[in-house]
Symmetry: C2
Subunit: 200 residues, 2 copies
DNA sequence: CATTAAAGTTTACGGTGATAACATGATGAT
DNA sequence: ATCATCATGTTATCACCGTAAACTTTAATG
């Protein structure tokens, strides 16, 4: 690649007709906007503006708004998955469950718009080709995590209920705190995270 | 009131300039629409159309859309409260807690749009004059319910955590089922409702 | 009755998601 | 090298939304 003119290589050409990688730029801008807005308060035009492109350019890469949002969901699911995996690394089954629960809640609190989009939005967004999506990975991770603390002779129903208990608890408290119905408080979160373990 | 003309008293005058009780008609129409749409998919114009009135007539009774939605929230909170109270009537503390939890979840599943509006919507809607609102009643009901099954020497922190556990559980499972991340299943709900009791 | 205020109406504005028709320029065959 | 093609941009437009302003109708009051 040539260094132009004054040697500064900041890629400051005022505008190029073709963006280069608009698709991922839109996704990045979308994720950024989701940090401050809810998904339904974020307009496509706003995303396009953030990237410096016309409003309808988005439609060259996504059939509609939901398609872009779905893409953001997948990114979120991957992030969530990774956070949990990191938190669990090298822990015993019990402490791993607690750690992944904490990571789950902290992810939700740190990414309000994204988490709400992933979890608390009409299913139209979620179940377009939802198999092989990263969402399923996150759920499988939870189930495995829970399975590891159950006795080996536990029934399938017991597995199901235990997993659902854990998920309901972390999802419930996350949503209550995101919606400001409950004040975020680390101590309370810790106390809640111990409950599934006591019960098992 | 006079019976007119043919004796049919159906109030079928084609149109009157003044509606008579537009405010409550709007609330009723809003509640009805919430049965099939989410709150942000329900437009003010749609509500006005349902009542047969011009779009801007709404603004004679509510300063903006959120104000109408807030009114709907209050109706929902009252209904929820009443459902729980009925379910608890004449039960022992333990069975009362379980019954009110079941009533809570069933209310959520039966009123998706309304429940989501009440609980899973940005706080702007909820905390306008939220004291003396019916929402607080519902929460207090839960806390009392939980307090009744705790040992008398339980600390304030234990009360808080136990109440939050119960709320997180029923809210979490309600939302997961509303968002179709978990299939509604009475057996599973029953199993989950026993957990707070086992723990206590 | 005449006046006034409450409760409706029409009109209008800026913002939105989406479609259609047009413009540009990167790519590959000649 | 030139040129056609076509993906990737653009502008123009539509219907709908929330909301504000100005006008109209009707009920209520002195």
């Amino acid at each position: 690649m040539m260094i132009k003119g004054n040697g500064v290589n900041i890629e400051s050409e005022p505008r190029r007709y073709h963006h280069g990688d608009l698709r991922s730029a839109l996704v990045a801008a979308g994720l950024e906007l989701l940090a401050s807005r809810a998904a339904d308060e974020m307009s496509l035009r706003e995303v396009a503006r953030a990237v410096g492109v016309s409003a309808t350019a988005v439609y060259r890469h996504f059939p509609d708004k939901q398609a872009l949002l779905f893409e953001l969901c997948e990114h979120g699911a991957q992030q969530l998955c990774e956070s949990q995996r990191i938190a669990m690394a090298g822990k015993t089954p019990k402490t791993a469950l607690e750690a992944s629960g904490r990571a789950y809640i902290l992810f939700a609190l740190a990414n309000p718009g994204l988490y709400r989009l992933m979890m608390a939005t009409k299913p139209s967004i979620k179940y377009i080709d939802a198999h092989d999506s990263a969402m399923d990975n996150a759920m499988q991770l939870l189930k495995d995590c829970v399975a590891n603390v159950l006795p080996t002779n536990a029934t399938a129903m017991e597995h199901e209920v235990a997993a659902l208990h854990a998920w309901s608890l972390v999802h419930g408290i996350s949503m209550l705190m995101l919606d400001e119905l409950v004040a975020p408080d680390g101590k309370v979160i810790d106390a809640l995270l111990e409950i599934p373990l006591n019960f098992v």
